[in-house]
Amino acid sequence: MAASNAGPSALEKEQIFGMAEKEMEYRVELFNKLTSTCFNKCVEKKYKESELNMGENSCIDRCVSKYWQVNNLVGQLLGTGRPPM
């Protein structure tokens, strides 16, 4: 909240920091939703062991990859050309 002699004004600075904060929140939320969704799609819920088996691991890798593609695709559809990152 200190005054800045050069560069952006105090108000502009608040907006820049606010925007940066929202963008970081967005990334965290994207990661959390992706993690939760891929766990639901790929991991066996009877928990017979604490290791991920080969099938689960390969499913997870593909799930992350496809989620990423869907994220980009939706970004294109919304006309921004790219997702908000």
């Binding site: 907006q15 939320e29 939703k33 593909r62 496809k66 939706v74 970004g75 559809l77 919304l78």
Partner: protein, 93 residues
């Protein structure tokens, strides 16, 4: 969500108006980013169920596109109805 639905700023002093307006902008940015994330999650969950490939298949892509379009149209319609009800509630006061 339409900005006007979040509050009526007309009767505020200028400094408060600026501050309130900034607050609304921040809320809208956050909301639209969250909406984006929810849309991606929803359409991914509804459309992608096979993980035999690393690349999105053509029919999955089509499904995601339709899902996203449908959701946006839905969201706009809900927004219109919601605004009407808000209007009605406001004039009752």
């Amino acid at each position: 969500m339409d900005k006007s639905m979040l509050g009526d700023l007309d009767n505020l002093p200028e400094a408060d108006k600026i501050r309130m307006s900034g607050m609304i902008d921040q809320l809208q940015i956050r909301d639209s980013l969250r909406m984006y994330n929810s849309l991606v999650e929803r359409c991914f969950s509804d459309c992608v169920d096979s993980f035999k490939h690393k690349k999105l298949q053509k029919q999955e892509e089509t499904c995601v596109q339709r899902c996203a379009e449908k959701f946006l149209k839905h969201s706009m319609r809900v927004g219109m109805r919601f605004a009407e009800l808000n209007q009605g509630a406001a004039t009752q006061d």
